[in-house]
């Protein structure tokens, strides 16, 4: 059968989803299975023609959005049905492995572990029997990783997929043993009969492949029966990581791929005038020297030879377009670009603040790395990417091939924080491979990473709260941030990424607070934003605009409370709109002993945030006795993210967000000095080390039966706000320009 049939179920009793048929020859066959997800979502499952049990669930078919999420979230869910290319595919192998090829990337956020848990739960498989390889770039569907939406977009389809597979395996066992299917149970990747007979899933997979109509329900378990989902679980790749076996792009041994580095200009966007590469070419171990838009590439036998030859190039550079520009000028242009707010309500008093945030590097531990093998009629690449489909199109267009001729293998990433939404290095690697006529393993040096972007844009914020009779009657927040713009100068080397809806922070500019109504009952809310266009490589940075916008607002909330003579926690409790946010605030206030006596020079701070269908609160204690060297001593966080798949993974994400807050508020930023980034490594890009991390960290997870929300980026604004507020209370200084010690 060429087409496919599908049946969706709608637990509300409404019509099922429009069942689209796949294209002829799509390789999809068989029937759909019935199932339901959380709340009113609908999920379909298809069978794929294969000798072993192979089922597939389209992603992004759920039409209802999670409660409380902003409209931008729905836009990220692209409706896809049809070929296996767009689906989450589960295969049960004869070796008793459950293999699910995931159209997302693992960057440390733990999505492979979370998906393995969903699958193990519904399949009654051992977690250790589940493999989650990353899918190659596809031609259709939604393969982007961003906007903290992986768990929420996979939770329904993944569980339905596994529940369907389980029903077929049980049905196959019932037929084999001639017993009623209802009498069988499943545990540890095995079907068990009442008389004690057992059959592994692997031994049943061939017969289960032919089963269309199941004799037991394929409905996912109710949450009350969850044994894996909700249980704190260690990462499935933990052993590989601690033994050095985990492979990143740079660890691949692709035949003939020559280690490659690029000589780059000292300034942002500087241009090559001339290069004398005779000395470099004559050096041992040098295979090729080629020009690319970003500079001059050296392909060699080892990275040592590549670096040495790069340093032997005699290059003349023309300064980039920003060569006259330094931080002070950028800051004043931003200040001037902030729109003026309207008049304050008549008779009100004002609390005002202006906040400045410096550029911040993503600085993932693994620098951008891409292996590329570009031939006349095809190309194959290996790199870590949050947007492999866009990357493939970009690479194809850069090297003059059709997208169908380009194969992209998605590798795990050594961190990202938004950096791998862009695929600059992959395009560059492809261009070098094409020009050098050989496979290359391109690595950006740490200098390249710090000095040539990307970075979180610098921004300026002007906030005014108007109060009368002890309450806030109007709140206005106007911002300006740097926008990446190359004008007419062209930017052939810049793979400008089209952000997915969520990652682009599609929040209406006129409403800087992250929900329609605002987090607080602050009367009339207004906002506006301006921008300064600069030819700089920028990028979405974990939590995107919220990392600055909401941090500034949480500082203002403390200052408003101060002006009104109210305790910051008490003030938030009486002005927060949402019960859920109040609950996480109460949690950290109680667990973190808000208001407890502290030594002189120490202080506490709190902040809250709501986004991605989730909310979070953070309490920080800081030793600010030396304001130039503050130490965060304690962090207590509480999060409500709806149903939690892996509490241990969520805690890890909150811990990481706390480190982001500590780093970006206190020490980590980039200086722009006459058109160049001054920082060149972690020596001067002052990311937190162990001595800057809290001695005590705890995270509390609120019980919830709600749909899973987002968590990966959630904690950043609350942590940043709490660090700044704790600093203010410890030192008596008003935090205004970030990072504070820069």
């Amino acid at each position: 059968m060429d087409g496919n049939e599908s049946v969706g179920i709608d637990t509300t009793g409404g019509a099922g989803p429009a069942a689209e048929t796949g294209a002829p020859g799509s390789g999809v066959s068989g029937s759909g299975a019935l199932g339901s997800g959380v709340s009113r979502r609908r999920f379909m499952v298809y069978s794929l023609a294969a000798a072993t049990l192979t089922v597939a669930a389209p992603l992004g078919c759920d039409s209802d959005t999670a409660e409380g999420t902003e409209p931008a979230r729905a836009a990220a869910d692209v409706l896809v049905t049809g070929t296996d290319d767009e689906m989450l595919v589960l295969e049960v192998t004869e070796a008793n492995r459950i293999v699910v090829r995931l159209p997302r990337v693992e960057l440390g956020q733990g999505i492979t572990t979370a998906v393995a848990m969903m699958i193990a739960e519904e399949l009654d498989a051992r977690l250790a029997d589940v493999d989650i390889p990353l899918a190659d770039a596809r031609t259709k569907g939604n393969q982007s990783t961003g906007g903290s939406n992986s768990v929420s977009s996979l939770y329904g389809p993944a569980r339905q997929l596994a529940a369907t597979a389980r029903a077929r395996l049980v049905t196959a066992a019932a037929r084999r043993w001639h017993v009623p299917a209802w009498s069988l149970r499943t545990s540890e990747t095995t079907v068990i009969a009442p008389d004690g007979r057992t059959a592994t899933y692997g031994s049943l997979t061939r017969s289960a492949a032919g089963i269309r109509r199941t004799s037991v329900s394929a409905k996912p378990k109710p949450a009350a029966r969850h044994k894996v989902i909700g249980r704190p679980t260690g990462r499935i790749d933990a052993r590989d990581i601690v033994t050095g076996k985990a492979r990143y792009a740079g660890d691949l041994d692709v035949a003939g791929a020559g280690p490659t580095v690029v000589a780059r200009p000292p300034t942002l966007g500087g241009k090559l005038v001339s290069v004398d590469d005779r000395a470099a070419r004559a050096m041992d171990g040098v295979r090729a020297v080629v020009k690319v838009p970003g500079g001059v590439a050296v392909v060699a036998d080892t990275f040592h030879h590549a670096f040495q030859a790069r340093d032997a190039l005699k290059v003349k550079w023309a300064p980039g377009p920003l060569a006259a520009l330094s931080d002070a000028a950028i800051r004043s242009r931003l200040r001037a670009a902030v729109p003026r707010p309207g008049p304050a309500p008549h008779g009100s008093k004002q609390v005002e603040g202006e906040f400045e945030f410096a550029f911040v590097s993503h600085a993932p531990m693994e620098v951008l790395t891409a292996v590329a093998d570009v031939r006349a009629d095809r190309a194959e690449l290996w790199f870590s990417s949050q947007t492999p489909m866009d990357a493939r199109d970009g690479i194809a267009s850069a090297v003059g091939l059709r997208a169908s001729q380009v194969k992209v293998h998605v590798m795990r990433g050594g961190g990202s924080f938004g950096r791998r939404l862009n695929f600059d290095a992959a395009i560059e690697a492809a261009l070098i491979s094409k020009a050098a006529k050989q496979p290359v393993k391109l690595m950006w040096s740490r200098n390249d990473d710090m000095r040539h972007g990307r970075m979180r844009p610098a921004s300026h914020h002007r906030i005014r709260a108007s109060h009368a009779d002890g309450r806030v009657v109007a709140f206005t927040h106007a911002t300006a941030s740097v926008n990446e713009s190359y004008g007419k100068q062209g930017a052939a080397n810049q793979a400008v990424y089209v952000r997915p809806a969520r990652a682009a922070s599609a929040r209406p500019l006129a409403a800087p607070l992250p929900s329609d109504s605002g987090l607080y009952n602050f009367g009339r809310l207004s906002g506006d934003s301006g921008g300064v266009d600069l030819a700089m490589p920028l990028g979405a940075w974990r939590s995107v605009d919220s990392g600055t916008v909401r941090t500034a607002e949480e500082i203002m909330v403390d200052e408003i409370a101060g002006a009104l003579g109210v305790d910051p926690v008490a003030f938030r409790r009486t002005t927060l709109r949402s019960k859920a946010v109040r609950a996480v605030l109460d949690k950290v206030a109680a667990a973190g002993s808000w208001g407890a006596p502290l030594p002189a020079g120490h202080g506490q701070g709190v902040a809250v945030h709501e986004e991605y269908g989730s909310c979070v609160a953070c309490l920080v204690e800081i030793d600010g006795s030396d304001p130039k060297k503050p130490r965060v001593t304690k962090v207590v966080m509480a999060a409500d993210v709806g149903t939690v798949v892996n509490p241990r993974g969520l805690e890890a994400q909150l811990m990481g967000a706390a480190t982001d807050g500590i780093s970006t508020v206190l020490t980590a930023g980039l200086h722009i000095d006459r058109g160049a980034v001054r920082e060149g490594s972690y020596k001067d890009f002052q990311w937190a080390r162990q001595r800057n991390a809290p001695l005590h960290f705890e995270a509390h997870i609120m019980p919830s039966k709600g749909d899973p929300g987002g968590a990966g980026e959630l904690g950043v604004p609350a942590a940043s706000g709490a660090v700044a507020n704790a600093y203010a209370r410890a030192t008596g200084l008003k935090p205004r320009r970030f990072p504070l010690n820069f």
Partner: protein
């Protein structure tokens, strides 16, 4: 091209390499031992941290000529066969890793610390310079304390 012999994870190896070639690239590009990671090339991020004669080094700033006839241990050689080193086990038990890229270096730094200082204080742990961009520091601290108790109860 000069040739250098040293012991790598218990086995004798010989490489032909320029004298000033950093050990990191000897390991990664010539010997295909990829546990030690490049993160900066200047000994700052410490993602490549390994051991030379049992003491912590950053192979990105150690020349191969200075390793001749000595013992190099990378993350691949820390475990005793299939049995993990207590620090590796503590890393799993505390679920320290996120992206994992810095963790081979973190583990090697922790193992070297515990060898010198079996019961490290908070200040001893604070002195570890290895960068973890994911921010797993609290779990690193927990894992080091756990491993310390395991190694020297």
């Amino acid at each position: 091209m000069p040739s250098y012999s040293f012991t790598l994870n218990g086995k004798s190896v010989t490489v032909e390499a320029p004298a000033d070639m950093p050990l990191l690239w000897v390991l990664r590009d010539l010997l295909h031992v990829t546990g030690p990671k490049y993160g900066c090339g200047v000994g700052v991020c410490r993602a490549c941290t390994s051991h030379l004669d049992g003491a912590e080094i950053q192979p990105c700033v150690v020349k191969v000529k200075d390793c001749a006839d000595r013992e190099v241990t990378t993350i691949e050689g820390l475990a005793d066969g299939d049995g993990l080193h207590p620090v590796q086990q503590a890393w799993i038990d505390c679920d320290v890793s996120q992206c994992g890229f810095c963790q081979p270096g973190q583990i090697m730094a922790a193992a070297a610390l515990l060898k010198k200082t079996p019961h490290p204080t908070d200040d001893d742990i604070d002195a570890i310079e290895n960068v973890c961009r994911c921010g797993t520091y609290a779990r690193i601290r927990e894992a080091i304390n756990r491993a310390a108790k395991e190694i020297t109860p």
